[in-house]
């Protein structure tokens, strides 16, 4: 993990500088020689949190797809791909002789197999209940403990809180806005992020409200809806988050129905660059940055 992690972090800092936002994760490159345990991350939310703390696991799941969907922080060069999140290559895992394998609770079916070669730690972010943002925050601290770098985890959480507070102050004048957070599934079906989602947690911490009243039907805090259902909330601010992996598509936003939605006609609709709705603390902060930049 020698030079990889700092290089990745420099890259992020540069990107965020270029995008006009002050570095979200104002982490200075950590001294890379860290004699922590050998970690393996089997989910992207865990991977991105570890990378953001400057921890390079020996292996992580689906690194190539991670780098195209989650995109940042980048996978450190020393971290190898261990296979699918739901079906890692166990023999290869054993060859790497990790100390700790980190899974999320939805991967519990892997636990018996993984326990045969390493200690297994579970972090809970998406449980179908509660506040995913708070869970992501707790998960970051827990990961810090697991990686034997609690100070870095504290740093990440504190910086995240501080950054959110700054963003909230920037929003103050227009605060009390109720937002609809939607993401395309296909040309006619949308996911709306409900209470319990990571983005909902970030939204409320910015002092904004989620305009969608319904409960989640998806594990990560979302529900499948159509445009006609969005019309039921004429006073909301409409936030369309581009879908990772789907080419930005004008079929939806060009349709007469979209164009007739009150928020669109009133100029209260914004489009955010693609974000993966199932991430950890760094994703939540990226969302908060992008949202603030859009509506402030």
């Amino acid at each position: 993990m020698s030079q990889a992690a700092p290089a990745g972090l420099r890259n992020i800092a540069r990107r965020q500088f270029l995008s006009g936002a002050a570095a979200a994760m104002a982490l200075r490159p950590h001294p890379a020689k860290a004699a922590g345990p050998r970690l393996v991350s089997l989910s992207w939310a865990v991977s991105e949190t570890l990378y953001a703390m400057g921890v390079a696991p020996v292996a992580a799941a689906e690194t190539a797809l991670y780098d195209s969907v989650v995109r940042q922080p980048e996978t450190p060069a020393s971290t190898v791909d261990i296979g699918l999140q739901g079906a890692p290559n166990l023999e290869y895992l054993a060859q790497l002789s990790p100390d700790i394998v980190i899974i999320q609770s939805w991967q519990d079916n892997l636990r018996p197999a993984l326990e045969r070669c390493a200690d297994v730690e579970t972090v809970d972010i998406y449980t179908g209940a509660g506040d995913a943002f708070a869970h992501a925050r707790d998960a970051a601290r827990k990961l810090g403990t697991i990686a034997a770098m609690p100070a870095r985890a504290d740093g990440l959480v504190l910086q995240c809180d501080a950054r959110l507070e700054m963003l909230r102050r920037r929003l103050r004048p227009g605060a009390n806005t109720a937002c609809l957070l939607v993401q395309m599934i296909d040309e006619t079906n949308l996911t709306v992020f409900t209470a319990g989602s990571l983005f909902d947690g970030a939204l409320t911490r910015l002092g904004l409200q989620n305009a969608w009243p319904g409960p989640p039907s998806l594990l990560w805090g979302g529900a499948v809806v159509g445009l006609e259902q969005l019309a039921e909330h004429p006073d909301a601010t409409l936030i369309l988050i581009d879908s990772p992996g789907l080419a930005p598509d004008e079929t939806l936003t060009g349709s007469p129905l979209w164009q007739a939605l009150p928020p669109v006609r009133a100029g209260r609709s914004h489009r955010l660059a693609s974000l993966w709705g199932f991430g950890g603390l760094p994703t939540a902060l990226r969302f908060a940055e992008a949202l603030t930049n859009a509506i402030a």
Binding site: N89, N189, S217, L218, G222, A223, L257, A260
Partner: protein
């Protein structure tokens, strides 16, 4: 129809009270929201439901008329899944393809599927049982291919599978327009040929004596039906049941003549799909998120079981007496095969992949890998053998070489139970899917026995029960795929028959179960030698119902054991017994033994290939085997 229209009117009225429909366009033009929603969401949705319902019903009626098979419809013939696979592949490899391109690709995919089904069942005179079995088998192969594409090209859980589930939601009139345009050529061609197609009411000999080029006519009709189904898949995705139910309703109402049945079933089709979709809307927000296609597919399975109560027309010709090429030399073949399997096991146990390629490991690597390697080899081998045994028993019992445990529905039942348990039980309960799987297998078994009782536990009809289960399975997995939920991934790898998570205990348990099954099967060998002689002969030889029940029970147990390890779709239960027979194994004992050996070898090979091909990613062994099984099926039944 009346109910559908009333419900639609009710929904429209509830959503847009007091809307002056005449002024709709004017109001929408001025951008008034309720008018815009009515004009661009509610109305196109109704139009799409009517169009698709009509198209599916016509397609189903045509298929049923020409194939003389009341079970034929786009989804049981694998026409829909062929089109779906083609479109999924194109969406991955050529993203941003326009709808017109999607239409062309869907039609090509559907046409290929239809051609494969015909090719596989040609030798059996396109008998309903043969066509249905071939269609169902291909359906499973296409389904597993589509799953692998989606699994390995998943875009952060925004799943392609959602698209395939047949959501009728619309934001404008574009899909309606494309559907109408795409269906028009088929409808225009259908009008003049409907009269000629009534020839298929006659028996084949009678029809050909009329001098009509009945084959060409049949192909044209099948082509039109395939075209219609493909256009609908390209437009909105997979919608089950309607193509089956609408023609059935038309028949039940005694519509005489093909033209009348076409009209009536088109009417029923349109009404059914509209009714299903409007019901979902009326049920409230949660139901509204469900695509109509997934909903109708769930409704379809009970109807299939209902239709299966009656015997299918044109019984299957008895399976040809096995080629009696080599009656001696079994021992030599078996020995040779065992040496071969020994080699496969040795290679599979040692060869290791890394970023650089394949190689033999050093001692340390071998020692690390071995605790992981042996359970999967044992599990795959034992699972393959169990499935092959089940297939061999089933093929001998029914005298049908196309029979397989997959067709019996046990495997699908196991998976349905496991899938439901995975979602219904709390996340931490690791044994849930396993228990659910056993419950599912038991339920499937109960249904098979209850249906089998009516038809003497030997009829080919029993095999078709699997079609019903297969369609429930695809409906359930269709519903689950709607939840972009990461737990799906573990379900999916399991459904595809992933062996990597097989624990040492599970491997040994599978092995023990398979050994017990083998002993039991060898004990029943005498029955199996007599059963294919036919009902009367075996009855006179004193083989009672209870013997058949025993055999069925054994088959179910073996396939349940296997599908929990290597997944429900491997087709080893079809391939291995068939190969063993082709190698000249006439007597039940030899046939059973060789089938088990072959099944074992095929699965171990598939497991090793899946581990080595795309390192560090793993292709599930069951999936790889099914990819070999589909083509084998077509080839084997072409050259019988």
């Amino acid at each position: 129809m009346v109910v559908a229209l009333l419900l639609t009117a009710f929904n429209l009225d509830a959503a847009f009270p007091g809307l002056a429909w005449r002024a709709l366009v004017r109001h929408a033009g001025m951008g008034e929201l309720p008018a815009v929603i009515a004009l661009y969401s509610a109305l196109p949705r109704i139009a799409v439901a009517l169009l698709c319902g009509t198209g599916l019903a016509l397609s189903g009626t045509l298929f049923q008329q020409i194939l003389r098979n009341p079970l034929a419809e786009p989804s049981t013939l694998s026409v829909s899944s062929g089109a779906y696979l083609a479109v999924v592949a194109s969406a991955i490899f050529w993203p941003g393809l326009l709808l017109a391109g999607k239409f062309a690709i869907a039609i090509a995919g559907a046409g290929t599927a239809m051609a494969l089904v015909l090719a596989a069942s040609w030798r059996q005179a396109l008998s309903p049982v043969a066509v249905s079995l071939a269609g169902m088998t291909l359906n499973l192969v296409f389904g597993s291919l589509a799953s692998i594409l989606v699994t390995f090209h998943r875009d952060g859980f925004v799943s392609l599978s959602f698209w395939g589930s047949g959501s009728l939601r619309q934001n404008d009139w574009s899909v309606t327009g494309w559907l109408a345009l795409g269906m028009l050529p088929a409808l225009l061609a259908l009008a003049p040929s409907a009269r000629a197609l009534t020839l298929f009411n006659l028996k084949d000999e009678a029809a050909s004596s009329l001098g009509a080029d009945i084959r060409r006519l049949g192909l044209i009709g099948l082509g039109l039906a395939t075209w219609l189904a493909a256009v609908i898949v390209a437009g909105i995705g997979m919608i089950g049941f309607v193509g089956l139910a609408a023609p059935w309703l038309a028949r039940r109402l005694g519509a005489a003549g093909l033209a009348n049945r076409l009209w009536l079933s088109a009417l029923f089709g349109a009404a059914l799909l509209l009714l299903a979709d409007q019901t979902l809307i009326a049920l409230g927000p949660f139901a509204r998120a469900l695509p109509a296609g997934a909903f109708t597919a769930c409704l379809g399975a009970p109807l299939l079981f209902w239709l299966l109560r009656k015997p299918l027309p044109m019984a299957m010709p008895p399976a040809g007496t096995p080629a009696s090429m080599a009656t001696g030399g079994h021992r030599a073949r078996t020995t040779l095969l065992m040496i071969g399997i020994g080699l496969i096991i040795a290679l599979s146990a040692t060869v290791t992949a890394d970023a650089g390629g394949w190689r033999l490991p050093d001692m340390r690597e071998f020692a690390t890998a071995f605790p992981w390697r042996w359970p999967r080899i044992v599990g795959a081998g034992a699972g393959g053998a169990a499935l092959a045994l089940a297939g061999a028993i089933l093929q001998r019992m029914t005298g049908n070489a196309m029979a397989s445990p997959e067709a019996l529905g046990i495997s699908s039942g196991t998976l349905i139970g496991a899938a439901l348990a995975l979602f219904a039980l709390p996340a931490g309960f690791a044994a849930g899917p396993m228990l659910g799987g056993i419950a599912g297998a038991a339920a499937a078994f109960g249904l098979i026995v209850s249906i089998g009782r009516r038809c003497g536990l030997s009829s080919n009809r029993m095999l078709l029960v699997g079609i019903g289960f297969g369609s429930i399975l695809s409906a359930v997995s269709g519903l689950l795929a709607l939840l972009p939920d990461p737990r799906l991934q573990s379900l999916q790898t399991w459904m595809l028959g992933s062996t990597s998570l097989v624990s040492p205990d599970a491997a040994l348990l599978t092995l023990a179960g398979t050994c017990a099954g083998l002993v039991a099967a060898l004990l029943t060998a005498r029955w199996l030698d007599i059963l294919p002689l036919g009902g009367a002969a075996s009855l006179s030889l004193g083989i009672a119902m209870s013997a058949r029940l025993c055999l069925l029970l054994l088959t179910c147990a073996l396939s349940a054991i296997a599908s929990l390890t290597i997944g429900p779709l491997s087709f080893v239960g079809l391939m291995a017994p068939h190969m063993a027979r082709a190698m000249g194994m006439r007597h039940a004992r030899a046939h059973l033994k060789l089938s088990a050996l072959l099944g074992c070898g095929i699965m171990i090979l598939a497991d090793a290939a899946g581990r080595l091909l795309v390192f560090p990613y793993e292709i599930p062994a069951g999936l790889l085997a099914s990819l070999a099984g589909g083509p084998y099926l077509i080839w084997a039944f072409r050259h019988r």
